[in-house]
């Protein structure tokens, strides 16, 4: 049973390494992102990718959001979060490579909590990515409620989950 528009977004805690402008290459201690407490009263764009550093995710998906951060914020988005089944150290390193800085929170769902709570997990063991990964999706969560959700029918592609699609849904 997967999450759908109108649902309350589930409460899950994910870890991320916060960006430190004074020491941009440092790996500071991770912080917790609580998908209930930290989303209260905010408009959040949350997009999920199957794998950090993988081709589609690196070439098409994450960059589309990095380049549109200002436009997203101009349309009222308070927080942009990228999540995957990778751990938070990997997400931090990927974010640094893609020069995300503090524009997007790069969160790790290595325990699979978010995948299970939303029903958006996918088994990618056949392609060597492990059994509990997130499929490619993009959601708008408004004050804790799912206002928009798109899931790629083919997770190797970026069509309805790219930043442009989200912008037109805002």
């Amino acid at each position: 049973m997967s999450i759908k528009v109108g649902d309350e977004f589930p409460q899950v805690q994910l870890k991320y390494v916060p960006y430190d402008a004074a020491a941009p290459n440092a790996c500071k201690g991770p912080e917790l992102l609580d998908t209930k407490k930290d989303f209260v009263g905010k408009k959040v764009v949350l997009f999920g990718v199957p794998g950090a550093f993988s081709p589609t995710c690196s070439v098409a998906h994450l960059p589309s959001y990095v380049s549109k951060v200002d436009e997203l914020k101009a349309k009222g988005v308070d927080l942009i979060v990228c999540v995957s089944g990778n751990d938070f150290f990997v997400m931090d390193a990927w974010g640094k490579q893609e020069k995300v800085a503090d524009k997007i929170i790069m969160a790790g769902d290595a325990n699979g909590d978010l995948g299970r709570a939303t029903g958006l997990s996918i088994d990618l063991s056949k392609v060597g990515l492990g059994a509990v990964r997130l499929t490619r999706f993009a959601a708008i969560i408004d004050n804790g409620k799912v206002a928009h959700l798109d899931v790629e029918s083919d997770p190797t592609e970026v069509t309805v989950t790219g930043a442009d699609s989200i912008l037109s849904a805002l």
């Binding site: 994910l14 870890k15 790996c27 991770p30 794998g51 950090a52 550093f53 993988s54 081709p55 690196s58 089944g85 990778n86 751990d87 938070f88 150290f89 990997v90 931090d92 390193a93 990927w94 490579q97 790790g108 290595a110 325990n111 699979g112 063991s125 392609v127 060597g128 990515l129 492990g130 059994a131 509990v132």
Partner: protein, 169 residues
């Protein structure tokens, strides 16, 4: 049941993205490595890390091997490989950050098959690192037979580090 000296190394499938000397920035197509087919008749140094891009692994464990790989090969190691529970894209990117080229094979055991076969897998959920994480260890395999096993008993790098392995080659 944990692997020990004298055992035959298990036959499992790992994945990796090969280094392409002509196109070093490219992220090529992942390939499979079947341990028995790839290691038969060879002396292999295989070291495992709990997590690519994590502090201890990146600052203490991996650099030792990057610096010593030439010495290991001159002491008879045919293959030097690093394995972790991260997927092959992450391992490839991590290897690139050290400029390992094809000196060290960066292998992925994302499905946990090798970890389970060796009895060297831990549950990282308490640290939000996922339920399947390889322990930190180094193994020397000679024509599929395990001749050295160094599993770290505590955080840090001692028996699984490059100096410990070089002493055994």
């Amino acid at each position: 049941m944990t692997i020990k000296v004298g055992d035959i190394f298990p036959d499992t499938v790992l994945t990796y993205v090969p280094y392409d000397a002509k196109n070093p920035e490219a992220c090529g197509l992942p390939q499979q490595l079947k341990t028995h087919a790839a290691f038969k008749g060879k002396k292999v140094v295989l070291f495992a890390v709990p997590g690519a891009f994590t502090p201890t692994c990146s600052e203490e464990h991996m650099p030792g091997y990057v610096q010593s790989v030439g010495e290991m090969k001159s002491k008879g190691a045919d293959i030097v490989a690093c394995v972790a529970s991260n997927d092959q894209f992450v391992m490839h990117a991590w290897g690139k950050s050290y400029n390992v080229k094809d000196d060290i094979l960066m292998l992925s055991d994302a499905n946990g098959d090798l970890g389970s076969a060796l009895g060297l897998v831990n549950d990282g959920t308490a640290r939000r690192m996922g339920p399947i994480r390889l322990a930190r260890f180094a193994i020397i395999i000679d024509d599929l037979k395990v001749v050295y096993v160094g599993v770290e008993p505590a955080p840090g790098v001692t028996v699984s580090g490059a100096p410990a392995v070089i002493a055994k080659l």
